[in-house]
């Protein structure tokens, strides 16, 4: 057994594993068309190799800093693996004045061990404000959220840029994806009303195509465009995207006819009617679940501390003196 461990602990194997990892990184680069095994397999090899070395290599015993560093490397690999298994990543677009709904979340990545708790998250989107420093260069983003607190109480918080909303372990980050939405009410023949919203593409990135389709409850589709002033924002000057700048009218196209609607106006369509309530803003959030993040940070910093300790012990005070001695003996410096 010990013999096996000793050969598994070979430093040559470490080198092979490291080279394999570097090659894996070049091939993989997060590109999902390549499998993660390109990175995972060499890491697994390195983990076993290191585990065996920690048990059998005497050098770790009398170099505690080095040992600490390598143990932290192992822990980071372990934490990163668990993170992959339990992590969640998704996106959601929420219209101002509406509540977050877990079923609207688009899942991007979901670890096999992730138990979703998104339905526990409750908040309502408030006002949005995005500052542009000049033309299309984005400055600060701030988004107001209303959170239910102790029965009856509602708390107002501000998120944006580096400040996410943290709820049920999920982090909601504002993104550059945001824009306008039209609030529409559909009424059928019997007067039964249904209000919903339709989001136009991200603004100002797609200011030239602020249109979308709405599938009516009866299955027919309706082309809707938001009427944005062609130069709503001036290039090269500072401006703000917020409620105040929200355009007021939409154009509806259906069966070859088109109508422009102002807030409150309605048109009769396919046995019912559509009323344009108003235009509002929406914010796109990126949702991540990475509960091990603080542990990863602490482990990584502890590892570096171990390495610094090793470096200190190994080279410490003796270093400059040795070097100076060499200098002094030099004929060129005599």
């Amino acid at each position: 057994m010990i013999r096996f461990l000793r050969s598994l602990a070979s430093l040559k194997l470490t080198l092979a594993g490291m080279v394999g990892f570097a090659v894996g990184v070049i091939v993989y680069r997060g590109d999902i068309s390549h499998t993660q095994w390109w990175v995972a397999a060499p890491l697994l090899l390195l983990a076993f190799n290191l585990l065996a070395a920690i048990v059998t290599n005497p050098r770790f015993r009398y170099q505690p800093g080095l040992l600490l560093f390598h143990i932290c490397l192992l822990l980071i690999a372990g934490l990163a693996a668990v993170d992959k298994l339990i992590a969640f990543e998704g996106t959601v677009e929420i219209v101002a004045g509406t509540a977050f709904a877990a079923d609207q979340v688009r899942h991007l990545r979901r670890g096999p061990w992730h138990r979703t708790q998104l339905h526990q998250v409750e908040f309502t989107q408030g006002d949005l404000r995005v500052e542009y420093v000049d033309g299309l260069r984005r400055g600060r983003t701030s988004s107001t959220l209303w959170l239910p607190r102790t029965p009856g109480a509602i708390e107002r918080i501000q998120v944006g840029d580096k400040r996410p909303l943290i709820a049920a372990g999920y982090r909601f980050y504002t993104t550059s994806n945001k824009g306008y939405a039209a609030l529409l009410t559909w009424r059928d023949r019997n007067g039964v009303a249904l209000t919903g919203s339709i989001n136009f593409p991200s603004y100002p990135l797609n200011d030239w195509k602020q249109n979308n389709q709405w599938i009516m409850p009866n299955g027919a589709s309706l082309d809707i465009s938001l009427l944005v002033a062609p130069q709503a924002y001036a290039r090269r000057t500072a401006w703000t995207l917020d409620d105040e700048t929200t355009p007021g009218r939409i154009r509806v196209r259906h069966a070859g006819a088109e109508r422009v609607l102002a807030p409150g106006e309605r048109i009769a369509i396919a046995g019912g009617s559509i009323q344009f309530e108003e235009a509002r803003m929406w914010m796109g959030y990126r949702i991540v679940y990475v509960p091990l993040l603080p542990w990863l940070l602490v482990t990584a910093l502890t590892g570096v501390l171990g390495l610094t300790w090793h470096l200190w012990g190994k080279f410490g005070r003796a270093a400059p003196r040795a070097a100076t001695a060499g200098m002094e003996a030099s004929p060129t410096n005599a």
């Binding site: 070049i26 260069r137 991540v288 060499g326």
Partner: protein, 270 residues
């Protein structure tokens, strides 16, 4: 723009320093050349500090955004870190000619880069930015100090009458490896601070963007180089020094090459 004028003076002084220290390595000059070259570098570094301060005051943020700013601040920080290393470990001074060459390339490049003033992206208002940039600059500075020595040591294999005696080589070789270990510590910290910043700024700590990938590869190359030396006790010195130069080549590409080929993430895009 005053910093442009200072940059022009800097390039002239660095060119003079390069020529002078190369003559010194060649053995043409009096042995004091290293001290003179260090003094000149001290002066250049102080000039650059003034240039950075003037620009900072005028545009209201540090030199973090455009290529001109990044090159300007790197010439300054590499110069400063090298000076500290050379004062701390005298053997490091033998590498000054290479350091001058590297600084001259970066400074001349800065002269050619556009000096446009760009506002600080929103994601840059973050304490992690400072940590990340500081340790990154320490890494590069320490790496340059090691590479300066490694290059001269390699050259000396061909021209053994150059600059120092055999016992100096031992001290210099030891200094190269010490500096590389220190560089590894700073590089590790740079990755950690970068990941923490990315989590704050973009909601992800690692997304394999080109800069992240290439800096991870630089980190691997450093680990491989350090491990090679531990694994093969009879690794020829020349191979070790060449590897050190190789690691620096990779780091140089990561720092100054990748920002050209990649877009978005690290520039705090729309």
């Amino acid at each position: 723009m005053p910093e442009m004028t200072i940059m022009q003076v800097t390039v002239t002084l660095l060119a003079a320093g390069t020529l002078y220290s190369l003559l010194g390595v060649w053995g043409v000059l009096h042995h004091e050349y290293e001290r003179h070259a260090l003094l000149l570098l001290g002066f250049v570094t102080a000039l650059l500090a003034v240039a950075i301060a003037l620009r900072w005051i005028r545009i209201g943020h540090g030199p973090f955004v455009t290529m001109f700013e990044i090159l300007l601040s790197n010439v300054f920080s590499i110069g400063l870190v090298y000076l500290v290393a050379a004062l701390w470990v005298p053997a490091v001074r033998h590498g000054i000619a290479t350091v001058y060459c590297i600084l001259l390339v970066l400074a001349a490049w800065a002269l050619a880069a556009p000096t446009t003033e760009t506002p600080l992206p929103p994601t840059y208002h973050n304490a992690w930015l400072w940590a990340h940039v500081t340790v990154g600059k320490l890494f590069l500075g320490v790496c340059v100090a090691a590479v300066g020595l490694a290059t001269i040591l390699l050259l000396r294999l061909r021209h053994s009458n150059w600059w120092c005696r055999e016992d100096n080589v031992v001290a210099a070789d030891r200094a190269v490896w010490r500096l590389m270990m220190l560089a590894f510590v700073f590089h590790s910290l740079m990755l950690i601070a970068g990941a923490a910043w990315a989590q704050d700024a973009w909601g992800r700590y690692w997304a394999w963007d080109p800069l992240e990938t290439w800096s991870l590869l630089t980190w691997c190359a450093l680990a491989i180089t350090l491990h090679l030396r531990v694994t093969f006790s009879r690794l020829p010195q020349a191979a070790g020094w060449s590897l050190v130069i190789g690691v620096f080549g990779l780091a140089f590409l990561t720092f100054f090459g990748v920002p050209f080929v990649s877009v978005a993430p690290h520039k705090g895009a729309m």
